[in-house]
Each structure stands twice: as structure tokens, then as C-alpha cells.
């Protein structure tokens, strides 16, 4: 079923603000109608949590500091099923602890938002330094088959905007949704323009209708909440349309998991978003996201000054990946490069989509991606060393 749309005045007076990425994400959450936050301290995401303490107080929402991240994700699932619009924030190690809950949220189709301020890993890694190592973890971290949505901001403005989008997508598709920022964006301070209104999407509702299956072709069933008078049955076990456990029924399992995956895959091109820069005559394509895309934009303009026809493809959604857009962008380029602050994650997705050799440019030194790393990478492989 389709979600409903509400337009409300932005909670912050429309203006230009100067704030940190973590704070902008908190403001985006408040603008999106977030009224529940559960979290556990972890660098570099704690500033977001602390901002939510104050903002939820002002907006009469609920804030709970949890005992660990298993607590955080479980609290979000509970609050979501009580009808709230819940969010947490964390970083890699905390996200790892959340994995069982993320699978449970996907299985029970609980809308919730996790803002992951990524840091250099694996394990404890460099707690105060950026990395982009959680791209696969958010998508494949919990066991078996499910889909999620993940957005990747490249600026403090987008930390605000994409957090709003994350809430709306989570509600519209009844799916856990991630904002995959990193320490560079989380702790960056720059201008944020707050508009006059905010669009809030609300989960589809249809009292009395089954909450776990639908004939609607979008595959999203209506979602009641505890306390609305329905005798709800919510389970992480395989279940039928009403929520009854069907742990020995192969057809029910096939249908349920097929729908959980299908509702996102079938809408992938609708959800997917991207931007392109200087693609018109490009021979070299750089595919970059998040903070790395800022460096890539600088890199392609420097390369162009030196006569290298380089262009940039920037996905705003990493999951689902904008496949059609990427294919179009790569159609007539000679080489494709993917700079990342990890040892090569999105590059695999790009290779899978394009069916061609793609060159990873990895910078894993706990620093934000440098334009020079991309320029060096492109020159090295493209045989254009000057």
C-alpha cells in the first residue's frame, strides 16, 4: 500500500545555519518527525545523541540511553511497533552488535533509522578517524536474505536532507534505513540551509487489514501499532499475513522472504538517487560517494585542467544502488575508477553492474579521501603519468 504524505513547517526557522554533520543529522531527524531516540555512546556519533537529548526534550519526544547497541536496536523495534518514528546513531562496532536486531526489523518490517557515523575499522580501529568500511555490513550483516535502504551524504547539508529522506523511505517501505555518513562528515562544520517546509511520509495504515502481506503490487502491507486496538502478533519467525508462525510451511516462507526482498528490489529505480558531474564528453568515469565524492569532484576538475576528460557519478543511495544511472554514465567511458575509504567495497557493486573491469582507488589511512589520491590513481592506471 502507499504511504501518506504530510507537509509541515520546518521545526527550525528557515535560515542558513552553521553546524556539525552530527548535529545536522539530529535536526533532520527532528524535522522528519522523529519522536523516539535510543542510543549508546560511541565515537564519532555521540554528538548526534547529545543533540537529540535536548531536541527531543523540546519536542516532547522520548530519549533513552541504552546499556549497549543490542539495546538500542531492540528499543527502536519496540518503539516502531508502538507507532513512533524511531532513530539511533552508532559507529562500526556498535553496528556490528545490532545485526540480529536489524534482521529482526527487516523480518517484522519495522520502520526505523540508523545513522552510522563510520570510523576507521575493522574492530576498534581508529575511533576518531573516518572510514567507509560499513557499506557491506549494513547490507549483508544480518543472516539470510533481506533488503535495506542506505543513503550516503557528502555534506552537512545532506546529513540534514538525507536523514529526513531516510525516515520517509523507512516509513514508505517499512524497512530499516541507514544514513551512512562517516567521521569526516559527522564532525565537519559547514552551512546548512533549512527550508520552510518538510515533507513527512507516514507508513500505510488500513485498520483490520493484515499487517504482513498485501495484494498491492508494491508489496508493502499496512502497519498497525500496539495500542490501536488490534490483536497484533509480531514475530521474527516465518509468518503469514496475520503474523501467525509458519515455521514448517515452505510456501509461506518463500512468499514472505520473496516479498521482503521484492518490495525493495522492485522499487529500486524509484528509490535510487544519484548526481553526475562533467559526464558529457567524459572518457574517465569516477564513481564516488560520501566524503570521497568531494575529493573526486576536486580531482576531476584538476584532471580536466590537465586535459584528462574525467567525469563523476555520485550515488546518494548505496542500497539500492542506482544501476540504470550508472550504466548510462559508464556507457561511453574508457575507464571506471572507484575511490573509497576502504579496501574496495562499492567497487564490487560497480563491477557487478557494469560487467567490466573497474579500478579501485583505496585510501585506508584514517584520513579523509584526498583529491591527490584519486588523481594519482587515475594517472597510474590510465597510463597518463606526466
Amino acid at each position: 500500500m502507499k504511504h501518506t504524505v504530510e507537509t509541515v513547517p520546518a521545526p527550525l526557522p528557515p535560515d542558513d545555519y552553521f553546524m556539525m554533520g552530527d548535529e545536522a543529522s539530529a535536526e533532520g531527524a527532528i524535522a522528519a518527525g522523529c519522536n523516539f531516540f535510543a542510543g549508546y555512546p560511541i565515537t564519532p556519533s555521540s554528538e548526534l545523541m547529545v543533540r537529540m537529548v535536548h531536541r527531543l526534550k523540546e519536542t516532547n519526544g522520548s530519549f533513552i540511553q541504552m546499556e549497549d547497541e543490542i539495546g538500542s536496536i531492540s528499543a527502536l523495534i519496540g518503539a516502531s511497533w508502538a507507532g513512533a518514528r524511531p532513530m539511533t546513531t552508532t559507529s562500526g562496532p556498535g553496528l556490528s552488535l545490532m545485526m540480529e536486531g536489524i534482521g529482526y526489523a527487516a523480518m517484522t518490517e519495522a520502520p526505523l533509522v540508523v545513522v552510522d557515523i563510520q570510523r576507521a575499522g575493522p574492530s576498534t580501529g581508529q575511533a576518531t578517524r573516518p572510514g567507509s568500511g560499513d557499506i557491506f555490513q549494513v547490507r549483508f550483516g544480518s543472516h539470510s536474505d533481506y533488503e535495506i535502504i542506505a543513503l550516503s551524504p557528502w555534506s552537512v547539508q545532506e546529513a540534514y536532507d538525507l536523514t529526513i529522506d531516510a525516515f520517509n523511505l523507512a516509513e514508505a517501505y517499512r524497512v530499516p534505513t541507514f544514513v551512512l555518513a562517516d567521521e569526516s562528515i559527522g564532525h565537519l562544520r559547514e552551512k546548512v540551509t533549512i527550508g520552510e517546509t518538510v515533507e513527512r511520509w507516514h507508513r500505510p495504515t488500513a485498520p483490520g487489514m493484515p499487517p504482513f502481506d498485501t495484494d498491492d503490487e508494491n508489496g508493502v502491507p499496512p502497519m498497525p501499532a500496539f495500542g490501536q486496538g488490534e490483536r497484533l502478533l509480531v514475530t521474527g519467525s516465518t509468518h503469514d499475513a496475520r503474523g501467525f508462525r509458519k515455521t514448517q510451511d515452505s510456501a509461506a516462507h518463500q512468499r514472505l522472504v520473496g516479498r521482503l526482498v521484492g518490495k525493495i528490489r522492485n522499487a529500486a529505480e524509484k528509490i535510487a538517487r544519484y548526481e553526475t558531474y562533467s559526464l558529457e564528453d567524459a572518457e574517465i568515469l569516477v564513481v564516488a560517494y560520501g566524503f570521497s565524492a568531494r575529493a573526486a569532484l576536486e580531482a576531476i576538475s584538476e584532471l580536466r585542467r590537465d586535459g584528462v576528460k574525467a567525469g563523476l557519478f555520485r550515488p546518494l543511495t548505496l542500497w539500492p544502488f542506482p544501476e540504470a544511472g550508472l550504466k548510462l554514465a559508464a556507457k561511453s567511458v574508457e575507464r571506471v575508477f572507484v575511490p573509497e575509504m576502504n579496501w574496495g567495497q562499492v567497487v564490487r557493486e560497480v563491477e557487478r553492474i557494469l560487467h567490466r573491469d573497474v579500478v579501485p582507488i583505496t585510501q585506508v589511512d584514517g584520513e579523509g579521501m584526498r583529491p591527490q589520491s584519486i588523481i594519482d590513481g587515475v594517472r597510474g592506471r590510465a597510463g597518463m603519468n606526466s
Partner: protein
Amino acid sequence: METLTYLKNFTEVAEEEIMKPGHVACPGCGAALAMRLALKTLGRNTILIFPACCWAVIDGPFPYSACNVPVFQVAFETAAITAGAIRAGLNATGKKGINVVAWAGDGGTMDIGFGQLSAAAERNDDIIYVCYDNEAYMNTGIQRSSATPWGAWTTTTPGKDFKKEKKKNLLEIMAAHRVPYAASTTIAYPDDLVHKFRKAMSIEGFRIIHIFSPCPPGHKALEKDSILEARYAVESRVFPLYEVEAGTHYTLSKNPPQRPVNDYLSLQGRFRHLTEEQRDYIQKNVNAEWARLMHHMRVSEAITNEHPA
């Protein structure tokens, strides 16, 4: 078993400084002083296990380590389990005479690591578990923990929303596990701290030492007042020093004349917002908790005498 007595004077503590200068703790850090005294007592045959906590940073960046003994830095929730497993591994390879010491903050002990702490205690893993308690997540920016006391300011319990829940009573919880040894101590009483480590070393099985550790940045207190704050915590009976053996045999370690709790609160900016009524409320709670502890000690002793194991 040899009965351990308190040090007659401090020169009985090993002169050797195992913990070296150059650690990166904040000035006035109670946890740093606690480590210095603990290592003097434990000696070099010690393995330290740190989960995520201030001490994971204080020890210094590789290759510099202030501790000068082997250190295992583990995931946030895993100090007790890893320590227990190190002991099991040492046993499996026939190595004896090594102190395996988990050294964790209050969050790693009473929040995220609580399940594993309880499990290690129930299995009676042969380790010394130390909780240095600065009463919040100081390393990530002063967020409340379940060890933060009622009334305290933290960044997640700001202003009028100061913490309204009471501090988790770690020692009573551990005593309820009937572990061989559980004790509280603090840096203002080095004789007590050293005594309790010596005693823990003389016992086998699960031992836990709860150390109250003043934190000047987190408690909004002066660096020079750390010892005073710890002393006032004991004198005001906010943090009584006692031992529990086998979960049932209680010994009160120090019983100085009672000081008004306000003396303790006034040293710390984190309590600055409290009204007189709220301070009275804390005083009443402290008195009640103390009475409960005294009662508990008497009753527990009487029952043990009545039902000798």
C-alpha cells in the same frame, strides 16, 4: 590460609614502579593512581585486559605502554569473558602463577559488559575483575551510565534533566552471585586498596574489586581535589569500603566519623544545580543505604553462623 593484615605503613608496598610515567590520563585521574597502586601490588606476573574505556587510551599509543605488563585490549562487552578465557588457556598450557586482571570502567562493567560479567562470576572464572568507577562514560564525552548517581549532571542528563535513577549497586549484585571475593576501595585509602589486591591474590576463583575513581573533567572537580573527593565519598558514606567473602561474610573496612554528604557534593560541579531539598534527599538515601548495609552485614553473619556450610 594466612590471615592478611593491613599494611602498618606504606613502605610495605613494593618500591618498584611497574606503571611508568608518560601515561596519557587527564591530570588528577583517579583511575591512573589506582592502576599505579594495583600494579605495585600485583607485580610483573600480570596480564591486564582492557575493554573500551579510559584505560584503553591512558595506557598510551603503541609502542608506548605505561603499564609495562602485557595488555590485551578487547571489545567493549568482553573483558570478563576474555579474562576467563585467558585463564583457561593458561591452564590448558600448564602456566601457573599469573594474575589475570580484567580492568574495566563502569560502563563496560555495569552496562554493556554486565551479562558477561555475571556469566564469568557464575562460572567462578579464576580472575581478578576490577571496575574503576568514574560514574559515567568519560572517554566518549561524559554520558550517563547505570553507575551515575542520582542527581548528577552528564551530557545525556543535562540541566534540569539530571539523572533521576539511582546508581546500580555493583557490590551487592556481585555478592548475590556468591563469588569468593568482592570488595570496594578507593584511591584516598592506598593502604586499603593495596590490602584488597593482596587479599584478592590470596584467593582462587572470581574476585572483583570496585574502585571509586574521581574524574576531574567528568565530575567537574579540581584536579587537586581528586584524593579529597575520594576521601569524602567514604567519609560521607556515599561509597562505603567493605569486603564480602563467599557472598555472605561481610567486613567493613573503614568507618570514619560521618561527614555530611554535602561536603562531598560541593567538591563537584556535576552536582552544582542541586537544591537544598535535593541534597537532603541524597543525604537520606545515603543514610538508608548505610543502615541497610549494616543490617545486611549483621543478618548475613547470623545466618551463616546458624547454617554453617
